[in-house]
Amino acid sequence: MVTDTKVKKSLPQGIGRFTAGWILFFSLTTIILIVGILAFIYESQMGMTVTGMRDIGTQGGATWGLYVVMVEYFIGVSLAGLVLVAFANVFDVMSLRPISRLAVLLTAVSLTVGLMAVVIDLGNPIRGIINMFLYVRPQSAFFGTFTLVAAGVLMTSLVFLFLNGRRDAMLLVEMDPPRQWFYRLWASGYRDTDAEWERHRRVIFWLSILVGPLVVIALSTEGLVFGIQVGRPGWFGALQGPDFIVLAAASGLANLIVLTAIVRKVLDTGTSLIGSIVFKWLGGLLLAASAAALYFQIVALFTLLYATPGAERRLADALIRGPYAWIFWLGLALLVFGIVVLVVQAARGTWGVAPLVVAAVAISTSAVAERYLTVIPSQTHGMMLPYEPGYYFPTWVEFAVVAGLFAFGALVFGIFMKVFPIIPLKSRTKQEVLADA
């Protein structure tokens, strides 16, 4: 008879195995999550006065603060994973298969965290959620966020995750793992027949075709939230939607690279499971997306600076040499630095994991800065009415809540890795299927 311990050891990719490092990871993320929850409870009891947010104009502040910045950031990050997997499925790019589950999970988790940030930003979350289902109006760009993003993209990523995981769940059942009912439920009767395989291939192909337009339309609404506000200098403009998508692609790919590198390092067999070709693909795509993001930034800046009327000019001054200058120049420098690192790697033809991670972290940080500059300065320095320039800086409560959101996301990834293979188990290729047939 095989003991539980032996069975656990035989499960792939360290499922159910808790090393000291994993225990430390779970402890730290749980503590940070609890601190975030406590900070949110404190904010709920004391009111939003414990945050740095104040009324625009009359109180000289910003009503959308760090939480909305994080909404933009997290929802942006969600774009790359699902689109990348859809791209790999449609064009049959087998090299990206090892990170397909990781990518879709990144989409699902970052969307969930982004939507949590929306809810947290509401003064009264429960009332906000109930009223949203009853009265949300399609005339608002937020309608797209709550319907196409929340329901559409999140649901699509969960469907992807579920259907793509059925075969692995079936294989895990055969390994006689603990909590077998869970894997049986996930496999939901999958037997790996030719018919099932072909049906699955067909479903994933058409879902992948649907994903492109769905994700682009859904996430464009995030940019439109700002782009269609006529009376707010810095926001109104046709570039907000495309700019959001491009930066979303860059930040999403950057996060995916970091996560892929972590998974590769953490798993015993990571190096053999995730080959260097994966990083070559991700690096090349990140370079393209980052270059496009830089182009959009330059175009937006040039437009803002060139013979603009008073309010836009004041905003441009605040960005370039005013209170936001350090964020602006730091963000731009990080983006350029990341692109330079990627170009050097491309020129050498070798995509090292360490430099790629450095570039990815720089570009991701730059994306946070860019989202911050999209949301905040237009509120504090973009008034059409004759108010004095305002001020906003997040308080410890906001930082703690946001740290809690990051911890929640990390915790979900960690838990997933302990119950299911984050890298798909060896699957049948098209050639193998044809050979079988």
Binding site: F133, L134, R137, P138, Q139, V159, A195, R199
Partner: protein, 72 residues
């Protein structure tokens, strides 16, 4: 059977989306005051419609088919 269920789910989802949208944003309203959802919960119909459509692939894969017994 499997295809009929899938098609039905897509159609039901589309109908829910259209009904939900048209009732959430009354077209031709003469003023902003008349642009509220025609009934409370109309936007939820739109959301449910999306979820129903996206659940169709799950049913398509999960429901049994005649040629399922051909083991690969």
């Amino acid at each position: 059977m499997r295809r009929i269920v899938t098609l039905l789910l897509v159609l039901v989802g589309l109908v829910l989306m259209v009904v939900g949208y048209l009732n959430s944003a009354p077209w031709g309203a003469s003023s902003v005051a008349d642009s509220n959802p025609l009934f409370a919960g109309a936007p939820t119909l739109f959301i449910v419609g999306i979820v129903v459509i996206l659940s169709a692939p799950v049913f398509y894969e999960l429901l049994p088919s005649r040629d399922d017994d051909r083991v690969g």
